[in-house]
Symmetry: C2
Subunit: 564 residues, 2 copies
């Protein structure tokens, strides 16, 4: 299908999607230019290849329990694609694909990669896209993906080709539904594009299908902007690169503004609840004055007062140097990492479930002393949020707490105290920001575009070879694309167990920021300089051609470098 | 100065600024690539030219009063640069430049343009950069701008080369200070880069210098991301293009997220208090479901309830079509356009200044009935903001009101009512956003880079020709750069008077969104389609090379097109 022509007088062009796959029939010039952006494949995928097995695998922890949970799959080897002399032309396959969980830039390219693999290597194949996430599998809601349908989504952001969902396939009934759909569609394979939970789920599904002697194989793909699904074989999750670049563009702009204006401290909260990879990567890209890393706060068992004091200390030192402005990065999940806050929230959940909250505050006596003290330390607006915003189970909604505003108020209060004590002479004005949704659905960077395409193409190859229970693994990413390696890693080898409701549950452990890892150590070696001297960098907007169009994330480069 | 080399393993490069002009010594690859981005000049500026006068000018309104306020300058002609056969090499000049007011991408290029003009045409000249805005003129705080100092700022965002400020030169003492500095530095000319207020001020300064028989000439340059300083001769203010593109990138991403997730209404507040140009331009670039334009709300004398109902109506219709998501654009200054809100705020200011506010709410009886009703309609958090957040003069701080959150709550309440009446069956979840500081200091787009350079180069030419009281005017912007026209427009011709404290004060009227103008009419012709059918466009990040790197704003194209 030829790229649509530009409308002469504007920046937009019409794309007629024959199957109405994308309801918006209008594309920007940049979106349009991305449609035919070439996607280079690693050399191994361009010529005849075969899939070879590695040594037997184990588990990330508690191998005995994992072995019990995955009797069919445990111990299976990882697989690698290597060049082969035989040009094995495959039979037609029936493959399903599903997007699971939050959006990450590049998801559409994973699907394009699977599709193109089937077109190239298994003529006559059918690719089913399950709509709306795992629920689409259970309910048998799908669409047949053909080239006209897929074309408008190539190198485009979002998950709207088939949309996503957060349902899980967990209960015996749900497994049965998935089985019914697989049988009905005569599926040879299923690709699950998702994060740690979804890949755990994919592995359970693979195990279930195997034990039920179904022919349907299941392959996972590592997706999450949070960057917390990775291991040696899977160097990064897709979407992380683009999301961080979008956030870093905004942070860089705010830094230039801060320096130009000279009067604001910008408190920037960044998406990423569980791990602080995004915040760390953005710091490495932009050099803010202060960066809070949740994992460090937890390791040092810091209190909210510690964090506030740390910020106030830097602000005081900067004021002495004549700088009454700055930029501070805060991970969305910060307060989840502060033990005393967790304790307070647990006590509040308990109290609010059983007590009447009186205006006079007598209910507060039910709090333990440390929690009571912490509560009184919090700004009134945050106290109110803690009391009011509750989820359907009556729990405090931590996600709704605007941590950046909370910290601004706490720092303001602390600085007022110091001012009275003549320990601070500056003027403090805080500006809150939250960068989240803007980054999840950006146009994928060249890296994410190419990486995802290879992940999808590789997933097709793994299914074609009959593998199951693997996660598509593309590595050697610091090298030119031709030299990237392609294979699959046993999902069971990434797993450990957690005890829930008296039962062992398999989990792929989230990859947290490692405090002895190269990215964090690099940050630590520079943060004092960044705090007092202004070393701001403005990465600028993502470029698709020309300078900086092929950069990798600092996190990836540093991690790969430290492995060598 | 050669562009600095890239650090091998990262995305950043060191730029050693010999004069330490930019304290951040580190540049991203994109920033770096912009340093040597070529800046094409309009043909007329590339060859010998002369400055010719047009016919005598008048004023935008009340010419008699403007004539009294500007006895020396009123009626002077605008000037145009035209090719000339004589290669007039000029004498060395001493020129000052000042940045005034809020940041706008491209300010550094205006300075680069002035500097290069002096280098090219008036060898041996000196360019003084006044630091920190007009206060720098009054206090005689300046830096001599040489090529090493300026180089690191070429095509870079922000105003940090010499920083800006919001002081005004207004009182006789302040005029005297400006005069003293001009005499001390023996200034031939001064370029004031600013918005409507700053250019009015520049004209007063020009008048003052002329009446005092000083040799210092004053030329203005049209700066503001808000886009509200423009006229036929000055088709756009610089910075508008870049800021809108940064915001439109984010809006486009949020749209893709909305469509992928299918469950959120994103309420996006955009910077721009006085006029709604930014919101209108972003709408034309991205096609949101709902766009509020302050000027229309005011013209139709809409109430907050009208606005809420309009949003709720669209949401209900979309729910019937199966769409429980959408994107809504809101100009920052929306509530300034709603007469009843202005009335309520005026009453509140009065009451809060004189009355004790009792918990029971007896104070509310002092409100007029419509204001009382409106107050009761507001969400509690907004009521609180209106009561608490006050400026040093005791006035309610309208700027602190988070209009997007207010509208989310009001729409939520309205939809609950409709749900009970079975008129709405959807689920409503609002997500608030504010895009502001991210856009003010972005890396200037190619358009703003080139436009600003021409504005500065032209300002140099106007000063060189001895003109004063003009605003640098570059037009014919839809044509290739070579064909752009260059000249200066009499600032008095843009002025009208306002009566303040019993005196006439000259003002350059802000250019508001015109409801019979081409951009608004285009929007009106499409908004119903955008409301119900999803026509989202994702403009993507600003590109500096390749596709979409030379696009113009829709507003500019439509306005120029409608003038033809």
């Amino acid at each position: 299908m030829a790229p649509p022509a530009l409308v002469a007088n504007g920046n937009v062009a019409d794309v007629k999607s024959p199957t109405a796959g994308r309801y918006a029939a209008v594309y920007s010039e940049v979106q349009n230019s991305r449609l035919d952006h070439p996607l280079p494949l690693p050399s191994v995928l361009k010529k005849p290849f075969k899939v070879v097995d590695g040594p037997p695998s184990s588990a990330a922890g508690n191998p005995d329990e994992i072995a019990k949970l995955f009797p069919c799959l445990f111990g299976q080897p990882s697989a690698a694609l290597v060049p082969d002399s035989n040009n094995s032309s495959g039979q037609a396959l029936k493959i399903g694909v599903v997007l699971s969980g939050g959006q990450a830039p590049g998801g559409h390219n994973v699907i394009s990669g699977i599709f193109d693999y089937l077109q190239d290597r298994c003529k006559g194949s059918t690719l089913y896209g399950f709509r709306g996430g795992p629920a689409g599998i259970m309910k048998g809601k799908y669409v047949v993906l053909n080239s006209d349908f897929i074309y408008p989504y190539r190198n485009q952001g979002g998950f709207d080709m088939i949309c996503s969902g957060r349902d899980k396939i967990e209960t015996p009934e749900q497994f049965k539904q998935a089985e019914d759909t697989s049988v009905k569609l005569d599926l040879d394979g299923l690709v699950v594009i998702g994060g740690d939970d979804s890949n755990t789920n994919a592995c359970l599904l693979a195990e279930n299908f195997r034990s039920r002697k179904l022919k349907t194989k299941v392959i996972g793909c590592p997706k999450t902007i949070d960057g917390d699904l990775k291991c040696k074989e899977v160097p990064t999750s897709f979407g992380f690169d683009t999301a961080c670049k979008v956030y870093a563009e905004m942070i860089g702009n705010v830094m230039v503004d801060a320096r130009s204006t000279g009067k604001y401290y910008h408190f920037v909260r960044l998406m990423g609840r569980a791990a602080s990879h995004i915040t760390l990567e953005c710091a490495l890209q932009t050099h803010p004055n202060i960066t809070l890393i949740g994992e460090e706060v937890a390791a040092k068992k810091q209190t909210l007062k510690n964090v506030t004091d740390y910020i106030a200390d830097v602000i005081c030192k900067r004021a002495e140097l004549g700088f009454n402005y700055g930029v501070i990065l805060i991970p969305e999940g910060l307060i989840d990492f502060i033990p005393e806050v967790q304790q307070l929230i647990a006590e509040l959940n308990e109290i609010l479930a059983h007590e009447t909250v009186d205006e006079a505050g007598a209910w507060k006596k039910k709090l333990t002393t440390p929690s009571h003290q912490l509560f009184d330390l919090l700004p009134p607006a945050i106290q109110e949020q803690l009391m009011l915003e509750r989820d359907p189970h009556g729990n405090v909604q931590v996600a709704k707490i605007e941590t950046e505003k909370m910290l601004i108020q706490m720092v303001e209060t602390e600085l007022e105290v110091r001012k009275k004590a003549a320990a601070y002479k500056g003027d403090f004005k805080g500006q809150p920001h939250f960068f989240g949704y803007e980054g999840r659905c950006g146009l994928p960077s060249n890296f994410d575009s190419t990486y995802c395409y290879a992940l999808g193409y590789g997933a097709g190859a793994l299914l074609h070879s009959g593998r199951t229970g693997l996660i598509s693994s593309v590595a050697n990413l610091a090298a030119p694309v031709e030299e990237w390696t392609v294979g699959g890693t046993a999902l069971t080898s990434l797993m450990d167990v957690e005890r829930r409701h008296g039962k062992f549950k398999p989990v792929i452990k989230k990859a947290m920021v490692e405090l002895d890892g190269a990215p964090f150590k690099k940050f630590v070696s520079l943060r004092e300089e960044w705090a007092l001297k202004n070393r701001y960098i403005n990465p600028g907007p993502i470029q698709f051609v020309g300078p900086a169009s092929d950069t990798l994330s600092h996190t990836l480069l540093l991690e790969i470098g430290s492995q060598v």
